[in-house]
Symmetry: D2
């Protein structure tokens, strides 16, 4: 398994993110993970992919572990790595870190599939594969 480099994306926690228990409402973590993935690929690239080629990404599986509560006014660091499983699938390993934490508050493995507008599996385009491949550190093979 060849993982991409780690991407960092900061997110501020607002009123809207919390619930009356005082911490972030857990489905919102999936939103943060998606925002971070959109920044890895590029929202403008995702928009063009949808409009020009009718392709998009859908979450097939998300397995998330919540180790610690995240609080209002926190600025979290969303850490993201991914690998290619096939030309249809990418798997994303993502974590949420609170400021000054020694371990992640939330960890997740999220499997994405590429789909057309009829919601059928579709291969990622060569240009998208090329773009995403830039996220991998160069490997020297001899």
């Amino acid at each position: 398994m060849n993982y991409s480099k780690t991407f960092h994306f900061p997110i501020q926690i607002y009123y809207e993110d919390t619930d009356f228990s005082g911490v972030v409402y857990h489905p919102n973590f999936l939103k943060y993970f998606e925002r971070a993935r959109e920044h890895v690929i590029g929202a403008d690239i995702l928009a063009a992919l949808w409009q020009d080629q009718g392709l998009g990404f859908a979450v097939y599986r998300s397995d998330m572990l919540c180790h610690d509560g995240v609080e209002f006014a926190d600025i979290i660091d969303v850490r993201t790595q991914f690998f290619f499983e096939s030309k249809y699938r990418t798997v994303w390993k993502q974590e949420i870190w609170r400021p000054n934490a020694s371990k992640p508050a939330v960890t997740a493995t999220i499997e994405m599939v590429c789909m057309n507008k009829a919601r059928q599996l579709a291969p990622m385009t060569p240009s998208l594969l090329a773009l995403l491949s830039q996220s991998f550190d160069s490997v020297v093979t001899t």
Copy 2:
């Protein structure tokens, strides 16, 4: 101004609706008002209108007053009346009532416009106008 009859729609308040201050996060009230409007018109009718005729409703203006906090586990009563301003526009007077309250917790006036998929103003269809007209009590004129 000829208002429709009053529609009642109950909504349960869940974790997802609150924020860390302990009460409902205010933008969610606009969601409840929209759910109630969708039940007046019929979600299946709205879905068909979009798919078959490319028409939908958009909020042009929402003026909302929050008088009282709404709490987790409340079952609120969303009260809805509307009137036709033109064949393009409807105006909705909506209120949120907590259980056993003597006055509404939230009140709003919401102006909706009918639009096509290019987001241009479009007249409501005759069948939609006929449907919505059934919400008005018959008026006896002599």
Copy 3:
């Protein structure tokens, strides 16, 4: 593993639930699962548990598989079963079924822990355990 009976909870899909791809935005499925769990336990019981005893439930793990898109105006059936793992933990097997479907659109296994307001693990109260135990069909053993 002794599973509870299956609970059914209907949820209507509104505008707010979808995204521009035309189907339900995936983190919302976690909201629906939670609403259904709240109905199994009782929102008023959860509210009293928090206010009177400072206890609440937190999602420790959610593992979700999205098999099919769910659309605007669908009325889904959320099916819920759970079992006790310990006096601190319950595990919930939940599914989302679209109307007339032959298989679930979404399936999930969700692990809940009971916590106090300091976010430390706390045992469920005897009355809560007794309440939840009523969800199990009587087992005849000979």
Copy 4:
């Protein structure tokens, strides 16, 4: 009426922000306005105000006009000005601008009140008033 200077706050539009009509779901605009207000005051200051003094801000009134749809991948500019109505109340004039637009997509007037944890009106603290007063351009009076 003495308005503060104009604050600018950029927000990226993600999947989560849109609905199946293809544009931002209107209650989300109220979220963006609140995020922008939180950045004017400072989320850490709001968090401390709540924890140390039991004070928070609640929306009393929001009057919003939606002139234009906002789309996925847009990076909007939220423009914010406010004035003091009393030591209990601030009024916020906020706008959402799409990239390269010649007029705002959404405009709103939002009235905030300062409240204690019992949800009673409370005056803003002197330090908060002093902080917010820094947002006003110096006025030369002769």
